[in-house]
């Protein structure tokens, strides 16, 4: 799981152009949206594309995204449970 969270952090930094951040700056449980990392709705779309492209997981229900994208850890848990 730790390997997956590290991989996710690296992908998020690259995909979302978080130029000032390194993998070490991201905590597994920091909220990705709101007061945490401060991501927005366009980032949420980028994360949906990332899940599909990188892990073959389609997020059909947008409401599901709110929980899945809460933190790096919740994303990793969701990927572990659903990846093909």
């Amino acid at each position: 799981m730790s390997e997956l969270t590290q991989e996710l952090k690296a992908k998020i930094i690259t995909q979302l152009n978080l130029e000032d951040l390194t993998v070490d700056d991201l905590d597994d449980n920091t909220p990705l949206f709101g007061d945490g990392l401060g991501l927005d709705s366009i980032d949420a779309l980028e994360l949906i594309v990332m899940l599909d492209k990188g892990y073959g997981i389609k997020l059909a229900d947008p409401k599901e995204g709110r929980k899945v994208f809460e933190t790096i850890q919740t994303m990793a848990d969701f990927i572990e449970a659903n990846r093909k």
């Binding site: 995909q15 979302l16 130029e19 366009i42 492209k53």
Partner: protein
Amino acid sequence: MTKPIYIHGSGSISIQPTHEPGYRFEAVKAYAQNPVPACDPDYKSLIPALQLRRMNKSMRMAIFASRLALQEAGKETVDAVITGTGLGCLSDSERFVETVLANEHELLNPTPFIQSTHNMAAAAIALSLGCKGYNMTYVNNASAFASALLDAGIYLAEHPDHTVLLGGVDELGARTPRFWELAGYLKHDNPVIPTPLAASSSPGEIAAEGASFFVASQQPTSQTLGKVIAGDTCYETADAVAFVNRFLRRYGLAAGDIDAVVLGYNGDIRYDAVYSTVGSTLFAALPHIGFKHIFGEYDTVAGAALHLALRLLGQQDIPQQLLLNGIRPRSLRRILIYTQRRGTNHGLILVEKEG
């Protein structure tokens, strides 16, 4: 243009360090490559990191240059944003099209799609300033900046108490210069900046990029850098001298009423004769000032020419590197800018010192 528009602040990013405070065009940065990317300022000094991370180079350059203009004018915001761009946000357009092809029309990332449109720079500026007023982008190639300028004149005539942010921006992109290469636009023989003009004997231009923005209104202030009193565009003409002559007559001017003429020589032997004909026929006794030999060529480089003209009006001197014919001005009150690209999109801007 029915009334002059007064420019109170000017900001520019180009392949020269024009973004540096107090830059006077005396030390010109040299390059031996084609195309030439713009000098990157410390974007983070004026743009919040969270906004910056999603911006392509057009947007970064446009927002930074507009911030410089606003700072110089002492303004926080404006009533309208009017921009020109020849080719828009090229890098995101390229990324979007490449993703469409690579992913067979599925799984498209939203950011390059959203930011592939030409009006993205004007939109990003308005968002960053909280400006909900008139927002317009002109996209007619090398006339885009002059068209934006003319529209700013019309807008301010209708809204005399408003302030406008006016500008032009174009970026190189990663793949598009290869298409220019195939089309025969780029110079191969001695592609250097400053481009030697007198000894130029090769076809092609040096492609570059940049953004120049201006804060304008119809009221002069103590900080006014200059006023644009006239402008005109013409897509094609068989007689550039007649085009310039008509413009001068329309504003009741003779060549002797102008102190210097800025000409868009870029070292392309196929089209530079247009400038030498206009220069020798109409303005033989005036100083000829070059700008594309230090800025390179892009659709909205006329914005950089206006930035240069305003700075020259301020410093009342023409640096040696810019003076093409060795004639020194008696004074610098009125400067005419004439530019065209590849024989089309002719544009004129007449700028005058205020006060």
